[in-house]
């Protein structure tokens, strides 16, 4: 019976690792190494000050550099994983007639645009 439980657990943990936050990932990877996992928190690298703002830089120019607070260093860098949840929506559910449950075709009630092109 233990083998049965193990099989289910492994299947779950293995698949559940996709898109996993660092904390989830660590849990999944540490099935038999809980002590090892316990030594790593949700943020294995960063343990210093949290990021209070991050503004995309849109200025033109080909040469960029990585400076100051953006440089990762063990114990002094910057961010806490998982503390900055932006939003969680449920998205828009398509009307019943538009759902694609049984086929792999696009939603029939909305015609696709042309192939993607960049101007």
């Amino acid at each position: 019976m233990q083998k049965s439980k193990l099989a289910i657990t492994l299947a779950t943990l293995t698949l559940a690792a996709a898109c996993a936050a660092p904390s989830v990932q660590h849990t999944a990877q540490s099935v038999d190494h809980s002590a090892q996992a316990a030594s790593h928190g949700a943020s294995a690298v960063a343990s210093g000050a949290a990021t209070v703002s991050a503004v995309p830089v849109v200025a033109a120019g080909a040469v960029l550099s990585v400076t100051g607070a953006a440089i990762e260093s063990v114990g002094t860098a910057s961010v806490d994983a998982g503390i900055e949840v932006l939003d969680a929506g449920l998205g828009a559910t398509a009307p019943a007639g538009c759902r694609v449950a049984a086929t792999r075709q696009p939603a029939p009630c909305v015609a696709p645009n042309g192939p993607p092109v960049l101007n």
Binding site: A21, P22, S43, V45, P56, V57, A62, L64, A107
Partner: protein, 268 residues
């Protein structure tokens, strides 16, 4: 009855990403040393900066590739955005901020949009190996517009499935959200139905081989393993399928793999 239960257990234990030895090999994976993770995160940041990338699609290896389905090498994908960063202690700098969709800790059937750092992105990796897509600079500008707009969050569907069908809006995973944002940028639209119609018409998901028994009983192991949004065949968005889509349509500047020791261009 005993035989039936055995069949179910075998099906579960051999779900596509799992081989007979997957559990033991996964369990013996060491957690990567923090210093190595930090060093690699900086290497990827500097590589992107050196190429002038303001937005890139970056993926990581979350599991031993040997236990993943054929054609899937990377398990998590996110946008990296070149940003001006300010810490709470007042220090500033310029580098990359990572825009993730993560499974919710404690409830793997739901997800949240989370910003973190390059170091955190790789903290849970199985190995220091990143797949990178640098979009065409024109597309980077469009992506920035979407990421900085309410559309980015509006395209999030918190109902999570590991194998979400990118052609439907029923479930979503990190790669599908990335694809939805990409499509929103390409077509200048925030209409989820139009985005799904265009994905259905032009995007080829990565096929995942699962037999009927596996599909039937996987949700018993975890609801995050549902394939209820698929038809007869299962296909999901992956780093590789997004890369192929972008290459096929001339939307990429560069597609490559970076490890601590080398940078390898993925063939077009």
């Amino acid at each position: 009855m005993r035989r039936f239960i055995a069949s179910v257990l075998i099906a579960l234990s051999t779900l596509a990403p799992v081989t007979a030895t997957a559990g033991s090999s996964a369990a013996t994976n060491p957690v990567l040393p923090a210093a190595d993770v930090a060093s690699f995160a900086n290497k990827v940041q500097r590589d992107l900066a050196g190429r002038g990338a303001r937005v890139a699609i970056v993926s990581r290896v979350g599991r031993d590739p040997a236990v993943l389905p054929n054609g899937i090498n990377y398990t998590h994908v996110a946008f990296w955005v070149y940003s001006r960063i300010t810490l709470e202690d007042g220090t500033t700098g310029q580098g990359y901020r990572v825009y993730n969709l993560y499974q919710r800790d404690g409830d793997l059937t739901h997800s949240d949009l989370v910003q973190d750092s390059p170091g955190d992105f790789f903290a849970g990796a199985h190995s220091l190996d990143a797949g990178v897509i640098i979009p065409d600079p024109r597309l980077q500008r469009k992506l920035l517009d979407v990421i900085a707009s309410p559309t980015y969050a509006a395209l999030h569907n918190a109902r999570y499935s590991v194998l979400a069908n990118p052609r439907t809006g029923q479930f979503q995973n990190c790669t599908e959200h990335t694809l939805d944002v990409l499509m929103a940028a390409l077509y200048d639209t925030d209409d989820p139905q139009q985005i799904k119609a265009n994905i259905g018409a032009y995007f080829a998901p990565q096929p995942v081989q699962l037999n009927g028994l596996q599909r039937l009983f996987a949700p018993a192991a975890s609801q995050a393993l549902t394939t209820a949004d698929h038809g007869a065949n299962v296909g999901t968005a992956t780093f590789g399928s997004i890369a192929r889509f972008m290459q096929a349509n001339g939307l990429e500047d560069e597609v490559y793999r970076i490890t601590p020791t080398q940078v390898v261009r993925f063939a077009n």
